[in-house]
Symmetry: C2
Subunit: 131 residues, 2 copies
């Protein structure tokens, strides 16, 4: 039960079914799966967990990740993530998201990739019945 | 407190700051605000509430709406919604979403617009700390 007393963790959702148009595959894995493997091979910042996810339905602009962190935060979806170049940037951005009370990273501090490749965001949940 | 005993409602989020590229404005309202006004002027299906929202950051493909319904359901974001032609279709789809246990409307029953204009979806929440 201890876990329930902790603040909400931040969850990084990684679409493991993503392909990237024009990408030359390094091996048999889909780029989304390779991205997940690369990210989870790195040291994760405190409070972050990484969840492999089936299809986030952003198939034309993969790889795709999402960040969410409980009812008080905006949820963000980011596109065009590169499984080789971007894993550390994604984790750094996830740590910034985790530190932001409402999940909104101040614009000037936001990773350039987040600025240019946010395809959607969902507002905090204000309905107590939807807890 | 009675409300807390009810099942989660379905929330239709309507981006009221959306513009539509090439759209000829009917009046001073942004298309997103007009969409919200049109939707809320109709009879809402049971269990649905409609929430005006600031920028869902799908600005290139507005108008934009999202559907969510508690931790057990997928959240969906839909693009290219027309404020004049689509309000009833959006409400019909929202009713189908509300009826689907996990929010996934069976493909063959899904509105054509939902099939072709889903830009992202977020999976159900499985972390009890994120309640």
């Amino acid at each position: 039960m201890d876990d329930l007393t902790k603040p909400p963790s931040t969850e990084l959702l990684v679409c493991v079914t993503c392909r990237r148009a024009g990408a030359v595959p390094v091996d048999d894995r889909r780029p989304g799966r390779a991205l997940y493997d690369q990210i989870t091979a790195l040291d994760l910042p405190p409070g972050l967990r990484v969840t492999p996810t089936e299809c986030l339905q952003n198939c034309d602009h993969g790889c795709t990740v999402a960040l969410r962190g409980g009812d008080a935060k905006w949820t963000y979806v980011f596109a065009n993530v590169d499984d080789q170049a971007h894993p550390q940037m994604i984790l750094d951005g996830a740590a910034q998201y985790h530190a932001a009370e409402d999940g909104v990273i101040p614009w000037r501090q936001r990773p350039e990739h987040f600025k240019r490749n946010c395809i959607a965001r969902i507002p905090p949940n204000t309905d107590p019945r939807n807890d």
